[in-house]
């Protein structure tokens, strides 16, 4: 519950950034550079005199969009593969899953960096790369659930009534594998936030002057001695969003199917 409220609050804050942020996140004010946290700038200001709190709130928007799109790409491609593999079984299943396994042998961060490196450093390429990297994860997970659902009596009943395979998959299998998909979306979301922050930190994602938690931590790195408070905002933002998404995922897992999801 707390996690759900926290996630909703974060989403609201990020989507209402233009109202919620006290200052313009890219407005440079060199007279106010590297100010410590105060009543007018709760989290201080950075080297260009930009308000850190406003940048953190706007940065949340980047993380939100990245998380949503990455989960959407991974789901849109991974779930159909999983449904086909799991429902068809046999040779089709074997081939599709071996290919997915092969993709899983890449160290994920390295593959993402290599894809972004080949496409060019850009936040959209980061989303694309992270989405691609997460496809096999979705496919593996949902295929497992599909295999279980395939053996259910209602599937046999539908088949006996003469339903076609595509219809059975869409009308009977898909609704029953929604639970693991939803849980996986929250997991992917939080992993994507960390990955985007890492890539932007390396200079491969969001480009200046756009606010991004990872990017801003890279700038904070240069002023560790003079302005250590620059670390506070982005670190807290990443940690609270990852924690609340993870807790939300755990909660959903317990709530939706306590039997098959207990570890």
């Amino acid at each position: 519950m707390v996690a759900l409220v926290a996630v909703i609050a974060l989403v609201a804050l990020a989507s209402l950034a233009s109202v919620a942020a006290p200052y313009d996140p890219v407005a440079i004010s060199l007279g106010d550079k590297l100010r410590a946290p105060s009543a007018s700038h709760w989290l201080g200001t950075d080297y260009f005199g930009r308000d850190v709190l406003s940048r953190v709130i706007w940065g949340g928007r980047v993380s939100l969009v990245v998380g949503l799109l990455v989960a959407a790409i991974a789901m849109a491609v991974g779930v159909p593969i999983a449904l086909v593999a799991g429902f068809a079984g046999g040779r089709v299943d074997n081939i599709l899953m071996r290919v997915m396994d092969a993709f899983l042998t890449f160290p994920p961060l390295l593959l993402t960096v290599a894809i972004v490196g080949s496409l060019g450093a850009d936040i959209w390429n980061v989303m694309l790369a992270l989405g691609l990297v997460n496809i096999p994860v979705f496919a593996r997970l949902v295929r497992g659930s599909t295999l279980a659902v395939r053996e259910e009596l209602y599937v046999a009943a539908a088949r006996a009534l003469g339903a076609t395979a595509p219809r059975i998959v869409v009308a009977h299998v898909l609704p029953n594998v929604v639970a693991p998909i939803v849980v996986q979306v929250t997991v992917t979301f939080s992993a994507a936030i960390i990955a985007e922050a890492s890539l932007s930190f390396l200079g491969l994602g969001a480009q200046p002057p756009h606010p991004s938690w990872g990017r801003d931590l890279n700038e904070a790195r240069r002023y560790l001695v003079d302005a250590p408070w620059l670390l506070i905002g982005p670190t807290l933002a990443i940690t609270t969003s990852v924690l609340s998404l993870n807790f939300l995922g755990d909660g959903l897992r317990d709530a939706m199917d306590p039997r098959s999801w207990r570890r």
């Binding site: 961060l109 390295l110 960096v113 490196g117 080949s118 990872g214 904070a220 790195r221 560790l224």
Partner: protein, 317 residues
Amino acid sequence: MSAYLLRRLAQIPLVLLVVTLTVFALVHVTPGDPIQIMLGMETSPEAVEALRKRYHLDRPLPEQYARWVAAATRGDLGSSIRQHQPVTAMIAERFPVSLRLAAGAMLFALAIALPAGMIAAVRRNTWLDYLLTGVSVGGLAIPNFTWALLLIYVFAVTLEWFPITGAGTAPPGSSVWAMLAPFVLPAVALGIQQTAILARMLRASMLEILTQEYIRTAHAKGLASHAVVLRHALKNALIPLVTIAAIQFGYLVGITITIEFIFAIPGMGSALLDAVVNRDVPVIQGFTLFMAVFFILANLVADAVYTLLDPRITYRS
């Protein structure tokens, strides 16, 4: 050697096919002409054509792929465009550095996770257990590059205990401490998340073992409880832990990039980042391929270790 391991070996050709095709495809999604990037702006069409011939870029794609794979099996991954150095030479130079960093991180993780996981299991549902669990959940939510910045601020900037840079660059003949000290903060930053994972793993498997019959028997025959925990429970809990640690070690080698960037460590990650910034395609390709193969082997070793450690384990399909 079980049939399971043999089956895993039999799958490797397919895995390698997918891996090589993916890495090969990376070049062809790169916007812009690699030859143009290589030569810079001022080039005559003749020079471009000559280089295109030399790198066989004028051949059809399947032939290019075949040539590239054939060369890779001979240990030839091409040459860096920027460094004017064979990619394999770069790997030979830099991979040991990343390996050392990952080993340091794993050492730190095991040193903390072993006692922490054991204590949490033995003292389950006490404040100590909750504290350790809370710390590991929190530890996992902070990315390792953020840990690195926090550690730098506390232990390098404020306390001045450890240097920030210099890992892997100490001149030969320096004291052991001068060589090790720069590795401390990077290794800890890289290892914190693994510490949390391993501690939670160990706690879970210890809890399962502590409810077994033979543990009750050991207690019943009057064995001191520390002996029961160490000799009977821990020994069995270590089997899955070692396997996870082996897999996690391979994973660690693949995520050193942010840490190498922060601490200026001349390993695989920082070289890959340079290659990405400079569009040095042969390096990106070669490094990705090498790491994927390393990952496959590491997982295979982890599986083999698992079957060797526990004679009961037989994989069946």
